[in-house]
Every structure is written in structure tokens, then in C-alpha cells.
Symmetry: C2
Subunit: 536 residues, 2 copies
């Protein structure tokens, strides 16, 4: 079943960067003071592996010697995720934490054996799926261990079972999102989980990080679709998920979902699946003003008629989309909006999925009933859909020319949305000076919504990592007390200092106690989720 | 704000029993071999309180001396919940565990102080809301402590705050379900949580037990509507709930929801609320055969067009409903069904809520599209609605005449529904001999459904408790491995022996570790949720 695995992941650091047209560069110069100079990637130095020969041999015994890799490319390919700081490190600014080896188990049993072996040899283990973390979730930190290995789950790429009556599919953790949909297609089913990281991210990673996808209004957040988990831990296997709902005590599955490799390694996930939609329709609309747009999305959520995809950009993000697109079509859109009297356009993308055109039409009617939105038609919606995985490539193009570009996100209840947005924007502008801060709502609930921010500034060539660290800290402080430190990016290493403010000292103590049970020697993903003094 | 509190709860054991018409008695004799003899309640003996004077004085300091009650009626009123075995104990068969005192704190701060005082004086604490547990969840077990008090939350009966924009309401834990709806009515809002225990049960109890209500298809299970919790523990207060959704690590709120008073005492709950429906419509339908009925409900769930209330009775339950109703209307229904060619009628009750008739009509249209159901009209639906809280009263009437009558419930994935129903039915019939076992689905999900069983048998006058214990054990064994040990009744003392099979030894260890953090001396609700050897 295994497809070709790129064991080096070399392309992670030299992707095909998106194209940045001249008018976009000009616009960036004007808005951020960018002095665009090409700054190509400069691969970092990689020291020798510190994995002992004994540990290497023992791991080789478990997975086969060919699946314990210590070559430079394999190790560098798993040296961190895809945050701006991660990418800077692979461009010569700062040093990525490089694992001492990459271990590729082939079965859940081998995962368990690898963990036991690592305990025996005092080796830290970083579970590695698609490597798309933007919060330091896969940084190869060794904590107080003698060495650290990346536990790459790429070989766990099978569809274990399908129960079409119950609409359940069990998938191994290393199955990527596109592969999951390919494996389920012959059964007429889909997971429906489509985050921006779709192309690389894995089922196990989604579960470990409480992922949300662009169509989560329709299909649910990943924790909503996880019906069962199989977790390998140093002290044994833990399986959860007997029924679609239960009152048999606390929902321990929700302790595993979001545990970010700190409590165990997810090896299999049972997922609620749905029939593949045969028809999808995406449309662009415009609302005049952010406040009005928020009211519209709130009404859709509270009336429970959200489109499967519902995404509202603020005035700045809408303006940037139009500015970067350029061309006669954009000019036509601007003229049309002026003619309609729209002064502060906010783009609202709505997408409906259905078995047939009638179902999509019904969903669309439900959503649009009672709202007077300025329609931009399906071309605008389809343009968004075509480009929806392009964020990472665009970011690479921007980084090539010296831009500081990063995203961050949060969520809160509706009544706090204005205050939270202002606070985060203010903190970023204070920290970065001349910059562009864009915001959108991509996930709406009856009681609140997520806020997703994109920041563009001229990169500080002297200390690019420090420049962003200061801004990120300011934004995180602004979020604390108003919203969650992460709606769908997770905690990783970057948000760990802010978790206590959200879940309390007792929350951290409970997590640490769970970790002591499941990972008594603390080999699992050191430095993630729990702040340093509560790691084990 | 506080309404009249019945501090004795005397009426819990002498309710106004429902009426049992002669034809029903006749039917019971025929089906169960019942030799109906009136067996009126005989109040159990109550020993002297073993709460030390020092502890009583210290608790009086915290809540005021008048709110530490040691009189017989107050103590007996909190001696257990409302399971069949609980009721037997209050009828002279077996001895209820009677708390040594009842403590009634007036604020969340007082709850915390009561817990600290109980730790100091080695007193076990049983949090007590509506006292409607049917799984021994409020049995006044003292574990290894010197005494045990019932911590009655009746005075925590305030609406703390309402956020109409975010559709959030914060309610104190002791607010009963009807009072919650009364408090929210001036805001035009409702919780929408309507279990059979509605009349007595409390917000805190719903959260502590992961309750599901009759309209949970529409409004969600209680864990779905809990947006935040405030928990008093012996080591301090724990608050959770920063946002409508979060990826900030595991969802610790879901560790508190369902913790059954073992990890702390829930003092406040932030709930997602909805506009009060102005229109409700209930209708009865008939489907020919259980298998066909299950198919219909599964299709509704998987097409996401369930009515707000969706309840499918099996052939036996439908037959019993008709038999017990009696009269010319029932004869007319039978004739009508014969004329329609229905051989194995299964009653399907559907109920829709909405802002107006148009919304209800839309919902109804969505649900019924594509399904050919035999309509029985709104009278049948309304009859169900009128009687929907009558279960406990009917049970009292049946117990009066010597019937062994109890309910139990589970849930599983659709593909296992037939096997699970057969297994539980078979186990009950094997254990009880001549008896009536009825079953219905009251909660359906995309991946599965609940199964709710009602059992009627002639009571064994010699050992009525033992008779049911054997049957309950057989049913629980039958459930284990096929479904969850509880879909919405919770674990309590009765299901604790079966939890390990469901969540694993590691699950119990993690729960015990969380308990050691939050309740280091183990004063909280001994003997519940965790099996005896893992209580602290």
C-alpha cells in the first residue's frame, strides 16, 4: 500500500516559490518600506549525530536498519516545522534543532517498540507527520535526554478499515490528507478536512493538534470527527472510542486529541467520514464594513445556516487581495463596488458542498436567506478555492525578497471579537512599526469565531528572528485573557509559555500528572505543550 | 434570587405515584406472571450522625450553622438517587447509605471552603444536585473517611450573567433545569436541555454526568453546550473555557465534564443558549419493523436532517405503549395500521422547534423528505410530549404493585446496533425469566445511536435487590465490548466496575493521577467513577 516516500524531505526547504509580480513588490515597498533584496536560502550547518551506536543498533533491530537514517538530508528534512522562524533558520538566520536520527517504523507495534527502546537508551522522541507545524511542534528538542530522534510516521500510511454503515474509517496516523481522500474515494467517502496544510499534513498530526480545516463549518473540527484513537506510549498501548457519544466518565479521547506527541504517539485514528460531495460551489460576496460582516457571519452561525466554507476578510485583507491580484478584473471589481456604494469592502467567501446541485442550491438558499450581500459571483469564489493552498508558496516568494511574513490566530466569543482584533493588531503594529496586518474569520460558531492574522513587514536583516519574536510575544500577550492562544495551530514550543494563563496552574498540573503516567521518563516531545518546568 | 428550597427533600421518597389502570395490571399479570400485591414504602432506619462536633462546628462557620443539617429528614432526603435499587432501599429492601449531614453552601467560595474544611476533618463529600442519579452517583459512601456529608448545591441557584451577543449564559450549578429556563425566559433564551429528570435535575449535575436530553438531536448533548466551567477543588479553584473552540492542548474542560464529583465540585457553568422556540410541533409516525426504523433514523442522522426530538421505539415498546394506553383510540390506531398493512409497528416520535411556523415547517420538510412514514398525527406526538417526564411516576406506581422496573442504556456505532440490542435483551431475559424488555433509540448521531431499555418483571419478594443486581450485571457484561457502558446515565457506583474495559487500565490511571492532583486526600465522592482500588 505504501506509496513512494520522500525520505529526505529535501524539498521542504527549497519549494517552488510562488510568483511575485512587479506591481505586488511595488505595493509592498510602499506599505512596508521594504528595500527588496533577494535573500536566497542558505542551508544551515548540521553537526554529527549524537545517537549512540547502541541506540542506533537497537532501533535498527525494531524497524530494520534501513529505516534508521542518520544522513544529513534526512535529519535536516525533519529539523523543525514551517513557521517563519523555522524557515529563517533554514535560510541561515539562527540554527534549527536537528534530530540525531530519523526513525521510520512500519507498524503501530513498531512505534511502541521504538518508544520502549528510546526509554532504554535515554533518547527523546519527536513524532513527525507532515512537518507542517507553525508553532515549533516538531522542533527536534532533546530536553535532558542524550539524543533526539524524529519518529517519522510516513510508513503508517494505510486505510485500516471502512464501516460504510456507520460512516467510520480507521486510518493510520501517517496518512496524508490527500492520500486519505484518495484511499476513501473508491468507497465514495471523504474526511472533508481541508486546512491550508492539506497537501502535506497527516491524519495523526490533525488529531495531535486539534486541527481545523477551511470546510470545518460544514464537516466539523478534527476533534469532532475523531471517533477513536490508538495511542502508543512508553508504558503500553491505549485505545479509546467505544461509541459515538458516551457518559462513561470524562472524555479521555479529548485528552489524547491535542496532546501534541507529549502523552503518546497516535498510530491510528477512527474518523467519522461523509459521502464525497459531487457538487461544490464557491462564491464571493462583499459586505460593507468589518462590523457589518461580523454581524452577518454571527447571524449565519447562530441561525445554523453557515456555508460549509465561510470566510470573512477584513478591509485590509480585502484591499491586499485586490492590490496583489491587480489587472483589469480588479479594476472592474473596484468600479462595481463604488457603483454599489460600498466604501469599506470586506470579502466574504462562501462554499457549499452537496450530493447534487439541488442540495447545494438548498444550502445556498438557507445561507443567503435574509442577508443582502453584494455578489461577486463564482469566479471570485473559485479564485479563492484555486489559491487556497498557496499560502506557504506565497510566503516563500515573499521571504525571497526580504519580507517578514507570518500568520497567527486565536478565537473568542462574539462579544469580544472587536476588542481582541484591535488588541492583536495594535500589539503587532507597536512591535513592528510600518507593517500590514490583515485579519479574517475562517471559523464561526454559535458563541464566537476565530481570528486569523497575516502580518507583512520589512525584515530586519540584522536580527530577523528577534524582530518576529518580539512581535509574536506582543501579540500573544494581547491575546491572553481575551481569547485562546490558538484556535487551530496548537501550542508546540512557541505557545507553551502562554498555556498556564489559559488552563490555569491546575490545568498544567493535571497534564503533567497524565504525562507522568504515560511517559514516566519524559522521552516524548520535550519542550512542547507543557512549559519547561512542568515537562515531566 | 433564591426560591423556596425544600431542605428535607422528603417528597423524593413519597411522590405522587402515577395511576395504573386495571387493564394495565391485567396486561402485566399476563406478560410477567406478576402476582400484584401492594407493597407500600417502608422508610429505612437512620442511625445517628457520625460527623464530629468539631467538623460540624467548622462547617457551620463556613456556611452558617443553619445550613449544616443533621436532622433525619434532611439526611434521608439525600440518601441516594433514584435508581430502582435506591427506591427499593427506601421501601425497606436493603439499607441506603445515609449522609451524616447535609451542608448547603451559598456561594462558590463557600463550596471551596467546605472542601478545605472536609479535608481538615477527614470527611467525605458527595456533591448533590437534583439527586436524580440512577447509577448510584450520589450514594453517600464514605470510603475510608471518618464521616460523609452531602454537599447540596440548592442555594447556588443564580443566573450569574448573560451575553446575548455571544449567546452565552453563566448559571450556578444548583439551578434546576426548569429554573434555568425561567431565569433565561426574560432574555428570550433557553438551554434546551430536557432529559426525563428535567423537573429536578440541575445544571451542575448535567455537566458532571455528560447528560443528554430528549431534544439533544437539536440542541446538542450537554457537553456540547458547556462553554466553560468553574470547579472548586480541595487544592483551589479551576476555571476553564476561553473560547468557543481551541487548539490550546487537550480539551481539559472535557475532563471536568463527566467527572461526577470525583475531581471537584462544579459551581458555575457557562452555557451556549438559544432563542426560546415559539413554535413546537410533535408528531407520531409508524415504521414497519425495527430494522426499517433504524434505517430511517440512520438516514436522518447521516443526512443531518434529524428532528430536534427523534425517538424510535421497537415493536415491544410500541406494543406496550398501545396496551397500556388502551381505550377506543388505541383500537382505532390498531385498525388503521392493519389497514395500512403495517405488521410490526414501531413508533417514531419526531419533534421540531422553531422561531415561527415557517421555520418548523421547513425543518419538518427537510426531515420527512424522501421517507414514507405512516403518519399518526400530532395527537400521538403531543401525547408523548405530555407524558415525557412521567417515567419516574409510572415507575413508582409499578413498584407499588410489586413490579421490578428499571431502565438502562448504552450507545454504539450503527453497524453494531442490532448485535448490541440482541445481546442486552438476551442477557436480561436470561437473568429475569418471564419479563418484558422494551427498547428505543432516543439519540442518533452520524456514526451511531443510543439504545435505551426498559425492563418489567415480577419482583422477587425475597431478594428484590439481588434479583436486579444479577440482571444488571448480565446486561452490563453484554454491553462491554459492544458499546459504551453509559450513553447518558453516567458511571456512578453502579458502572464503575465496567469502566476499565471501556477506557483501559491506562485510562483509569490517568483519571486517578488527575484525582491525586485535585483531591490528594480523596474526600471527593468516594466509590464513584473509579473502581475501588483506583479511587485516589
Amino acid at each position: 500500500m505504501t506509496e513512494r516516500i520522500d525520505h529526505t524531505l529535501r524539498d521542504r526547504w527549497t519549494p517552488e516559490a510562488g510568483h511575485l509580480p512587479p506591481h505586488a513588490l511595488k505595493w509592498l515597498r510602499r506599505r512596508t518600506g521594504l528595500d527588496a533584496t533577494t535573500t536566497p536560502a542558505r542551508p544551515p550547518a548540521v553537526g554529527p549525530s549524537e545517537l549512540s551506536d547502541a541506540a542506533r543498533a537497537a532501533l535498527g533491530e525494531v524497524v530494520g536498519p534501513g529505516f534508521v537514517r542518520v544522513d544529513r538530508d534526512s535529519r535536516l528534512g525533519r529539523a523543525g516545522g514551517l513557521s517563519y522562524v523555522d524557515l529563517l533558520r533554514h535560510r541561515g538566520a539562527g540554527e534549527p534543532a536537528v534530530p540525531d536520527a530519523v526513525v521510520l517504523p512500519g507498524t503501530p507495534e513498531q512505534v511502541a517498540d521504538v518508544l520502549r527502546t528510546c526509554v532504554e537508551h535515554d533518547v527523546a522522541v519527536v513524532p513527525f507527520g507532515g512537518g507542517t507545524s507553525v508553532v515549533g511542534g516538531v522542533d527536534a528538542l532533546r530536553g535532558d535526554k542524550a539524543a533526539v530522534v524524529a519518529l517519522d510516521l510516513a510508513r503508517l500510511d494505510a486505510l485500516v478499515s471502512v464501516d460504510p454503515v456507520s460512516r467510520l474509517a480507521v486510518l493510520q496516523a501517517g496518512v496524508t490528507a490527500p492520500r486519505a481522500d484518495r484511499l476513501l474515494a473508491p468507497h465514495g467517502l471523504t474526511v472533508g478536512h481541508v486546512p491550508q496544510s492539506y497537501e502535506r499534513a497527516t491524519i495523526g498530526g490533525f488529531a495531535a493538534t486539534r486541527s481545523a480545516g477551511q470546510a470545518s463549518s460544514g464537516y466539523g473540527r478534527f476533534e469532532d470527527v475523531v471517533e477513536g484513537v490508538r495511542l502508543a506510549t512508553p508504558v503500553g498501548e491505549w485505545r479509546l472510542g467505544a461509541a459515538p457519544a458516551s457518559a462513561a466518565g470524562p472524555d479521555l479521547k479529548q485528552l489524547v486529541v491535542g496532546s501534541e506527541g507529549v502523552l503518546g504517539v497516535i498510530t491510528e485514528v477512527a474518523l467519522r467520514v461523509r459521502p464525497r460531495p459531487r457538487v461544490e460551489r464557491y462564491e464571493g460576496f462583499v459586505v460593507d464594513g468589518w462590523e457589518r460582516g461580523v454581524e452577518v457571519v454571527r447571524a449565519l452561525a447562530q441561525d445554523r445556516v453557515l456555508a460549509d466554507v465561510t470566510r470573512l476578510s477584513d478591509v485590509d485583507e480585502t484591499e491586499v487581495s485586490l492590490a496583489l491580484a491587480g489587472g483589469w478584473k480588479t479594476r472592474a471589481v473596484r468600479a462595481y463596488l463604488r457603483a454599489r456604494g460600498v466604501r469599506r469592502p470586506c470579502l466574504l467567501v462562501l462554499g457549499w458542498h452537496g450530493r447534487d446541485r439541488a442540495e447545494v442550491a438548498r444550502g445556498r438558499r438557507e445561507t443567503l436567506r435574509g442577508h443582502r450581500l453584494v455578489p461577486l459571483g463564482t469566479p471570485m469564489g473559485e479564485a479563492w478555492r484555486r489559491g487556497r493552498f498557496n499560502g506557504p508558496r506565497q510566503r516563500d516568494a515573499l521571504m525571497e525578497v526580504g519580507v517578514c511574513v507570518e500568520t497567527l490566530e486565536t478565537a473568542t466569543h462574539w462579544s469580544r471579537i472587536p476588542e481582541l482584533r484591535d488588541a492583536v493588531r495594535g500589539a503587532l503594529v507597536d512591535a513592528l512599526g510600518r507593517c500590514v496586518v490583515m485579519c479574517h474569520i475562517s471559523h464561526a460558531y454559535e458563541t464566537g469565531a476565530s481570528l486569523y492574522f497575516t502580518v507583512l513587514a520589512a525584515r530586519d536583516p540584522g536580527d530577523p528572528v528577534g524582530q518576529w519574536r518580539v512581535a509574536k510575544a506582543a501579540a500573544s500577550e494581547a491575546i491572553t485573557g481575551l481569547g485562546t492562544i490558538s484556535h487551530h495551530h496548537a501550542v508546540g514550543a512557541d505557545h507553551a509559555p502562554y498555556l498556564e494563563a489559559e488552563v490555569g496552574a491546575l490545568g498544567l498540573e493535571v497534564l503533567a500528572a497524565a504525562k507522568r503516567v504515560l511517559d514516566p521518563t519524559g522521552v516524548l516531545n520535550p519542550g512542547k505543550l507543557l512549559p519547561p518546568d512542568r515537562r515531566s
